[in-house]
């Protein structure tokens, strides 16, 4: 072992006071970080990985309290130390990068000033040379034109740039330990790769230790030396990366690895059963409707031709309304003349980074948005002939339904699950009374939602259960086309696996067509037969999922695929199941 670990956590337990008594968030957690080591803490939401970090750095929520154990940083105890001493340590010795860079930066202070603040607080700079040093830091994190960006406000920078500024702040005082809490959540895959490469390069150069907290096994594998797997506040396994993936000891680790879709895994390989569902009702209840497997026919269901959507630009140059400027300056083409078609029973993936126009396209297809030009033929009819506001009352409405990205946001907090599922049935199918109740129960059986959860409100359900409610609502009116807008990006990997399998089964049973919008090529490949890659509102590449992923023709597609932190399965073990990433990027 290395001489003395820089951070030692020994038997740390943390309790939270809640309405229903105290809850143990951490249960005797032991871990060490050696000098220059990159330690990954991996686990699903609620596993206590962030609580560990926050306890160590002394930023634990008021309701939380360490009840046992100790944490030492280079011989200095961290638990029970006075806040003043901890504040000295934070930033100078231990730094942190937060999940949402835009929220972590002060929105009304230029980013350069925010770097200066840290430098001045820890006496690393004087008032005279602070600005110079701040600009040097900006340069170090490769922000283009640092003297100019010094004066930028966080809202003027992209998410990736904000995260770079956060890194600059965190590294400004040359700390010896950096804690990165899901540093790339909400960033695009290519930005994620650039950010993580930067962190790796900068920390390696100065021999800094890093704790990388992530839910993404692929990322942990790519950037960590050693990985700690956490579950429900306990460490279930700790091992060097190679050993962990080659020979996972704990069943939970095995489950996690099995649930992560890799570049070669098939949908049936993902055999994870999340805890919440283990004791749930059987997926096929006895009185569920008989399975009717529809053969996919190749008749076209939807034809999109020359679709264009323009939005007015906010930063248009003309200040006064009478100053006419060029149209090209004042509008932003979110979707730029795209055409594609979709057959009955086919599933089509729409892939690209944020801002590529995939969500706009799906909004137009679901008729929530009016296109600027072009048309969408659905089942032989031009559905763009009706304005979006009118479309809600047309019979075609029930044929096109949607599953939303964020299961929490897409359920009305004041509606119980049953209310949410019955809403489309009442509106579009006209069911009521006993028939409605029966149909809601049928649907909940179909999506594997235990019936006793039907009376619950969204905040009483887990992420996976909320996703099921969202899917049940979408299929309630027997749609022919289901648009899935990143339906799994807010879910844990093991829940994602179950939801993907559910979607696949429903597609076969009900003969629906899918348009699957996602930034995650690995997930798209599992569910889709054909893929469209979009960039800047245009279609870059289209083809079968297999072709696009394994033999990408366009440079953009190649970069996109290369940016996913893939695990090379052969590196650790021969069999085909490998852990790979599920990078999340909220649109």
């Amino acid at each position: 072992m290395a001489p003395r670990p820089i951070l030692t956590v020994d038997g740390l337990s943390v309790e939270f006071r809640t309405r229903n008594g105290t809850v143990r968030a951490l249960e005797s957690v032991d871990l060490t970080v050696a000098k220059g080591e990159v330690l990954g803490i991996v686990g699903e939401s609620g596993s206590g990985k962030s609580v560990t970090a926050y306890t160590v750095i002394g930023l634990l929520d008021k309701a939380g309290r360490p009840v046992a154990g100790s944490a030492e940083y280079d011989g200095v105890p961290l638990i029970g130390t006075r806040e003043k001493d901890l504040a000295d340590l934070r930033g100078r010795e231990i730094s942190m990068i937060f999940q949402n860079p835009r929220a972590a930066l002060n929105p009304i202070r230029p980013v350069g000033k925010q770097i200066e603040d840290v430098l001045l607080r820890h006496n690393q700079a004087t008032r005279q040379d602070a600005k110079e040093k701040a600009i040097a830091m900006l340069e170090k994190v490769r922000i283009v034109d640092p003297p100019l960006r010094y004066w930028s406000y966080p809202y003027e920078l992209s998410g990736g740039m904000c995260q770079r500024v956060m890194i600059a702040i965190a590294l400004a005082c040359n700390p010896r330990l950096l804690i990165a809490d899901e540093p790339t959540t909400g960033l695009d895959v290519t930005t994620q790769k650039a950010t993580m490469d930067l962190v790796q390069e900068l920390t390696r150069a100065s021999g800094m230790s890093v704790i990388l907290i992530t839910h993404d096994l692929g990322m942990a594998a790519a950037y960590c030396d050693r990985i700690v797997v956490m579950r429900k506040g306990e460490i279930v396994e700790a091992a060097p990366v190679a050993q962990l993936f080659a020979d996972p000891k704990h069943p939970y680790t095995q489950k996690l690895i099995a649930a992560s879709p890799g570049p070669n895994s098939k949908l049936s390989d993902l055999t994870a059963v999340p805890d919440e569902m283990e004791d749930a009702a059987p997926v096929q209840a006895p009185d569920a409707p008989p399975v009717r497997v529809m053969p996919p026919s190749r008749a076209p269901l939807m034809e999109v031709t020359n679709l264009v959507k323009e939005f007015p630009r906010r930063d248009a140059k003309s200040v006064w309304p009478w100053q006419k400027s060029e149209t090209a300056d004042t509008v932003f083409r979110a979707v730029d003349d795209i055409s594609f078609s979709l057959s009955r029973g086919e599933s089509l993936g729409l892939v690209g980074e944020s801002g590529c126009g995939k969500s706009t396209t799906s909004s137009i297809v679901t008729r929530l948005l009016d296109p600027t030009a072009g048309s969408v033929f659905f089942d032989g009819e031009d559905i763009t002939a009706f304005r979006a506001a009118k479309f809600a009352r047309l019979p075609q409405r029930r044929k096109i339904q949607m599953v939303f990205q964020d299961p929490t946001d897409s359920l009305n907090p004041r509606f119980s699950s049953a209310d949410s599922i019955s809403d489309p049935l009442r509106r579009m199918v006209g069911l009521s009374g006993a028939a409605l109740t029966k149909r809601v129960e049928e649907l909940s059986d179909m999506v594997g939602l235990p019936r006793h959860l039907l009376t619950r409100f969204p905040h009483q359900l887990s992420g996976g259960q909320k996703a099921r409610v969202g899917i049940a609502r979408a299929i309630a009116a027997d749609p022919m086309l289901l648009v899935l807008d990143e339906p799994t990006s807010a879910l844990d990997v093991s829940v994602q696996a179950v939801v993907l399998q559910l979607l696949d089964r429903l597609k076969q049973e009900l003969g629906m067509s899918y348009i699957f919008v996602s930034h995650d090529l690995n997930v798209v490949r599992l569910l889709c037969e054909r893929v469209i890659v979009m960039n800047k509102g245009k279609i870059v590449e289209t083809g079968t999922a297999e072709d696009v992923l394994t033999r990408p023709q366009q440079d953009y597609t190649k970069t996109l695929i290369a940016a996913i932190p893939q695990l090379d399965p052969a590196r650790w073990r021969p069999p085909q199941t490998a852990a790979a990433p599920v990078p999340k990027a909220a649109e």
Binding site: M402, F404, R414, S420, R473
Partner: protein
């Protein structure tokens, strides 16, 4: 319903101050409903021989310059004051949230018109505006209610507009649209119930203002007319006697007014927690 009762019990037991405020509010309501039967004396009966008596057991709050029992008058006045405040607040809540919700939901011209109208109202010193309304329409209880409602309208419109515009693009609103809901229906069933928690805080704050406003109008002689029992008038009538040492005439109605306002302000957080589903477990 049982669920709601359990939730209410939790909210109240968690915060004793809120529980106290709710208790006092219940007392006010009881007084407002049963006041005339509880009051030991006729609030309007004058008795010149018994004028300006200091508090005694027979008259716990003393008697005023006409020999009327101040205790009875304070009790009976609850109905009028509370009635004015509740109806004014109800009126401005209904109209204000309807305007604010439409402004926030549809934006554009609706938003501009509603926004500018409430700006215009708020540009006036509100009490002066209320005085103007009562002076123009005439001195009656209904007009006090209208005046109080008008000056409180912009607050509801603004809160409702902001909360609605935050939720206009929420996933569950889009989902409702995809489920075939029309705009008005989505606004009523999806958006409006979700903006209730912040509106509740506004309501309880406003109740305090409304009571003060009604009493203030009466105090300057523009509201309820003597001899009706009303806290504002009683303070106004008693004010002239403070100098000569008869403090009880103004103190007790003033204290009632203060306690009522205080109670409404404290109720806000409790009300919000009551209507917020995510506070339930």
């Amino acid at each position: 319903m049982l669920r709601f009762a359990k939730h209410a019990r939790y909210v109240l037991s968690e915060n004793p101050v809120t529980a106290g405020a709710f208790l006092f509010f219940t007392l006010l309501i009881l007084l407002a409903v049963f006041g005339p039967w509880i009051a030991p004396h006729d609030p309007l009966a004058t008795n010149a021989s018994n004028a300006l008596q200091a508090p005694t057991w027979a008259h716990p709050f003393g008697t005023d310059h006409l020999g009327r029992d101040v205790f009875s008058r304070v009790i009976v006045a609850t109905r009028l004051d509370l009635g004015i405040a509740v109806s004014a607040v109800a009126l401005s809540f209904v109209i204000g949230s309807a305007l604010g919700c439409s402004a926030g939901f549809w934006g554009g011209w609706t938003d501009r018109i509603v926004g500018r109208v409430s700006d215009t109202i708020m540009a006036f010193p509100l009490f002066v505006l209320a005085m103007g309304v009562v002076a123009a329409l005439g001195n009656s209880v209904e007009n006090i209610i209208y005046a109080t409602a008008v000056i409180n309208l912009p607050f509801y419109a603004r809160v409702a507009r902001n909360e609605t515009s935050l939720r206009r693009e929420a996933g569950f609103v889009l989902a409702a649209r995809i489920s075939g809901g029309s705009d008005a229906r989505i606004l009523a069933t999806q958006v409006f119930p979700n903006i209730l928690p912040p509106m509740m805080v506004q309501i309880s704050l406003n109740m305090g203002w409304a009571i003060l406003n009604a009493a203030g109008l009466s105090f300057i002689g523009l509201g309820v007319r003597p001899p009706a029992a009303e806290w504002g008038i009683m303070v106004a009538e008693g004010a002239t006697y403070i100098v000569s040492g008869e403090w009880w005439l103004a103190l007790f109605p003033g204290a009632a007014l203060m306690l009522a306002v205080f109670c409404f302000n404290l109720m806000g957080d409790g009300l919000r927690d009551l209507v917020d589903p995510s506070r339930r477990t």
